[in-house]
Amino acid sequence: MDTTLAPVTVGEELPVFTRATGFPVWNRFAAVNDEFVPIHMDDEAGRAAGMPGAFGMGNLQLAYLHNLVREWLGERGRILRMQCRFRSVNHKGQQVTARGRVTSVQRQTVQQTVQQTVGLVVELDVWTEDQDGNQLAPGSCTVLIDTGLIDR
């Protein structure tokens, strides 16, 4: 059996996705998402918004959560839903780690775009946290793992 296609288990923790955050990553994200907003580029604008200085984009935290789940999922399936709240802002110099844990697994029939697929619907808690373990963007994710791939 190919272990990369093995079913998931409740309580399983995902391999983490970690990045040092600050202008080098924020500016690159701004460049592809047209997000050159003053609060993300300028400490003075960040302070005017009530923060200690410039801070990172929520959308980049969301991207890190997608990276986390995709790298764990591999070729086994796809992301159906992702949600998160931006609880705390991402400050310059923080080491941000995206983490996840499987909370439930159910065999279900899912209507995809053009066909019905039978597979494992996996619910996960996902979140990003700073280097001290403070959560920045807690959320949840639903993925579909194709039963056909698992059983092959």
Partner: protein, 168 residues
């Protein structure tokens, strides 16, 4: 904070846009940015690797935005870019806004359908999903839910994203 006019506007369309055809370069650059400083996975930039994947070709990361910078419709640089106008939502609806000065991205909830492939043209329709208000650590805060639904040129559902805008 929530006026009668704002309440009555719930459900109204805020904007509609059509993307330019998505290019392999758009997808590659997005992947480089969100994986930086690591090299992004080859499935986002190596067509041969992507051809062997479950999607049979290059598809964009789910979080990819084909509307950044400019859209095919409406033409030109989108209005309201820069994030400085906290009443932009109500201005789009032709009503008075709450007059708050600060805003943050409070969170989002996204549902995915068909993946975005090279040459896809994406249409986005954004609606005002609703308002709520409550006290937070930065004082009284107004929460505005903005729902965007994306479809592709085959009229397949691509994505529905609800963004919660916090103003204070």
């Amino acid at each position: 904070m929530i006026s009668d006019a704002m309440r009555a506007a719930t459900g109204r369309e805020l904007s509609r846009a059509v993307s330019y055809p998505v290019s392999a370069s758009d997808i590659r650059r997005w992947a480089i940015a969100v994986y930086f400083p690591a090299e992004p996975p080859p499935r986002y930039w190596d067509a041969e690797v992507a051809a062997r994947s479950r999607f049979g070709g290059i598809v964009a990361p789910e979080d990819f935005n084909p509307f950044a910078w400019m859209s095919a419709e409406p033409r030109g640089i989108p209005r309201g870019r820069g994030g400085s106008d906290a009443d932009f939502t109500e201005r789009c609806l032709g009503i008075d806004g709450p007059g708050l000065t600060r805003q943050l991205n409070g969170g989002c909830s996204v549902e995915y359908g068909a993946p975005i492939r090279v040459d896809d043209v994406i249409t986005s329709v954004q609606r005002l999903a609703g308002y709520s208000e409550r006290d937070g650590r930065l004082g009284r805060m107004l929460f505005t839910d903005l729902e965007s639904t994306w479809t592709n040129q085959r009229d397949e559902f691509v994505k529905r994203a609800t963004l919660t805008l916090i103003r204070y």
